[in-house]
């Protein structure tokens, strides 16, 4: 089994390389360049800048020098934040994004999973419909809408009441400042997890082995928790892998709305400014997270299903 995971990890390397390659050329193909600021730059300055960042070298040469630096853990200098390297920016932003993302995913699991599972205990009851309905709403309303709505509610309407919350601004990650963004971040995932776990639990409750467990005279709660839950968790875990990677690497929308200095916001800034190296850096980190998350998902499969352990 371990050799299998080692192999999976190795496969991640070419995947990551492909991401680097793809991103690198895609970025250069986009119209504009990093120095097309609001104020036009004198041509000689521009020429200097381009030379300094090796932008006039042949593309393949730029690519290989970038790749060489990357292997040494150097994401290169930022074009926009001139005093920082991309590595520094990521080192600043990533922990912030990870903290928020982790809080959001834990919150989403703690709420979504019990919601989805308990909905199945009384299928087609009012409670079940309520869960399904809420889940649907949570999925279809985009976060930039819920984000703005919550800012309006807690930052404006409830201003002056004890329920007022800081709406935007980071304040060095004070607890109160985190409540709204983490909530907004978590909401769609609460919805997805509730929906997926409800569906997979219904599926699990129909299996022959659950029937066997019921035929033993086990109380329903034991049947659900001991016999059905584990197999119902597989689809949830499948979803959680990429979802966690997505959340940990920062939400562009939410970090922008709430002015959070995470890497999601750097990504947006980077993209707007054609800050090639910054965008590349954030993308590569994101891709690495997805690869690792999928690996962890595979490991969890082995925990949930002993059959996987032997294959």
């Amino acid at each position: 089994m371990w050799s299998y995971f080692a192999r999976r990890l190795l496969i991640g390397i070419p995947t990551l390389l492909a991401v680097v390659l793809f991103c690198f050329f895609l970025m250069r193909l986009a119209p504009g360049g990093p120095f097309d600021g609001e104020a036009p730059v004198p041509p000689e300055v521009l020429a200097n800048l381009r030379a300094r960042y090796h932008l006039d070298d042949p593309l393949w040469q730029q690519f290989f020098s970038y790749l060489g630096n990357l292997l040494r853990g150097d994401f290169g200098p930022s074009f926009k934040y001139k005093d920082f390297t991309v590595t520094e920016l990521i080192a600043q932003g990533l922990p912030v994004s990870i903290e928020n993302g982790l809080s959001a995913i834990i919150l989403a699991i703690l709420i979504g999973l019990p919601l989805g599972i308990t909905a199945t205990l009384s299928q087609n009851s009012a409670r079940d419909y309520a869960v399904s309905g809420l889940a649907m709403i949570g999925i279809v309303i985009p976060t930039f809408v819920t984000g703005q709505l919550l800012i309006l509610a807690f930052g404006v309407w409830l201003k002056g009441t004890p329920f007022q919350l800081p709406a935007g601004g980071w304040n060095d990650g004070a607890f109160l400042n985190r409540i709204l963004p983490v909530t907004v971040l978590a909401l769609p995932f609460v919805a997805y997890i509730a929906r997926i776990s409800r569906a997979s639990m219904i599926e699990a409750l129909r299996t022959n082995f659950v029937r066997t467990a019921r035929a033993k005279g086990l109380p329903y709660r034991t049947v659900v928790l001991r016999h059905a839950l584990k197999s119902a968790l597989t689809p949830v875990v499948t979803f959680l892998g990429p979802a966690t990677a997505f959340l940990l690497t920062g939400s562009m929308v939410i970090e922008t709305i709430f002015q959070i200095p995470g890497i999601g916001r750097y990504f947006v800034q980077g993209a707007l400014n054609r800050d090639y190296t910054l965008v590349m850096g954030v993308t590569i980190v994101g891709a690495a997270f997805v690869i690792v998350a999928n690996l962890i998902v595979d490991m969890l499969y082995a925990v949930l299903d002993p059959k996987v352990r032997y294959e």
């Binding site: 022959n208 659950v210 035929a215 033993k216 005279g217 299903d305 059959k307």
Partner: protein, 327 residues
């Protein structure tokens, strides 16, 4: 002596589906006495399993059962989940048809056995383990200690089938409903398992319901046989009568389909011509009439009741000659 353990009367099972109601079981009345084995035979889809799913309170969510099924002092069809759970796995056990999927894949089989004893006998882990291992040995599982710690997928179909059987027998139930309990076993093991069941029946008065396609197994263990067709019992008689003098044309057809050792190896296996009926649109009158060689006008218009006529059977041919036949 002839104490009834299970008494099913007028059992009907209906499934609601998108394209109409499925009449899986209709007006079934059956009983099992102490120390008796009731064989249930019939083609695939004739309602054998669903009859006893209903009795166990384990119908699928879209199914509904009416009628009654008395087990000792309780009516299983009207009992609440809590009452059922004190009986199921304890005094009343069922061995399900498909051993490959009947066990929880992520639990070691040993644990799946001991939890029954912990639940109904209040045993601690150690005592339950000893008891479970002993039962595994009784159902012919070799190296029970080692297999105890295995996951279902590590066991062959035959071993899983015996695990499921061991599970049913653990608490010494008064009645065991065994749905195709020996399909995955080789002949030698099958014979030993049937011996064990016979021993339980004779020494402990355990009642058995034996659902099977294998008439050889029925001949070996059953005392009485109920033949089901399209959700109904069409003949109910002692095993001797069923094999020696079957009365219902369907039963005769079934017996004719069973290969005998005396048959020439090249002999083509006869089958009953035609298909079992669609349970959403049953034929008028006798459900068997589209396939019956002896069909006559009355069969299409009227349904024969299950009545005395040589045996208890549902065919006008027998009722017309016997006193007390259906009018």
């Amino acid at each position: 002596m002839t104490q009834r353990i299970l008494d099913i009367s007028d059992l009907n099972v209906r499934f609601a589906t998108e394209d109409g109601e499925v009449a899986a079981v209709s007006d079934v009345s059956l009983h099992v006495n102490k120390g008796e084995c009731l064989g249930i035979v019939g083609e695939s889809g004739s309602g054998k399993s669903q009859t006893f799913m209903a009795v166990m309170g384990l119908l699928a969510a879209n199914g509904k059962a009416t009628g009654s099924a008395r087990f000792g002092e309780i009516d299983l069809l009207k009992a609440n989940e809590h009452t059922l759970n004190t009986v199921r796995g304890n005094r009343l056990a069922m061995v399900f048809q498909d051993p490959m999927t009947a066990l929880t894949p992520h639990m070691r089989v040993g644990r799946q056995l001991t939890e029954v004893l912990e639940r109904h006998r209040g045993m601690d882990t150690k005592a339950a383990r000893a008891e479970a291992v002993a039962m595994m040995a009784r159902v012919q599982i070799t190296e029970p200690e080692r297999r105890f710690a295995m996951y279902p997928h590590e066991l062959s179909g035959g071993l899983r089938q015996r695990i499921v059987l061991a599970m049913a027998l653990l608490c010494g139930p008064e009645l065991v409903i065994a749905d195709e309990p020996t399909t995955a076993l080789d002949v030698t093991v099958q014979a030993l398992i049937l011996d064990l069941m016979r021993e339980l029946k004779e020494k402990h008065g355990t009642g058995f319901v034996l659902i099977t396609h294998d008439l050889g197994v029925v001949a070996g263990l059953a005392d009485r046989v109920a033949v089901m067709y399209a959700g109904r019992v069409v003949e109910n008689a002692s095993v001797a009568e069923i094999f020696a003098a079957p009365r219902h044309p369907y039963t005769k057809g079934l017996l004719a389909c069973t290969p005998r050792l005396t048959d020439a190896p090249t002999a083509v296996l006869p089958t009953i011509p035609g298909q079992p009926p669609n349970l959403q649109k049953l034929p008028s009158g006798c459900s068997f009439h589209p396939r019956c060689a002896a069909v006559f006008d009355r069969c299409r218009a009227e349904r024969p009741a299950l009545a005395e006529g040589g045996t208890l059977n549902a065919c006008f041919l027998n009722h017309s000659v016997a006193a007390g036949g259906a009018a």
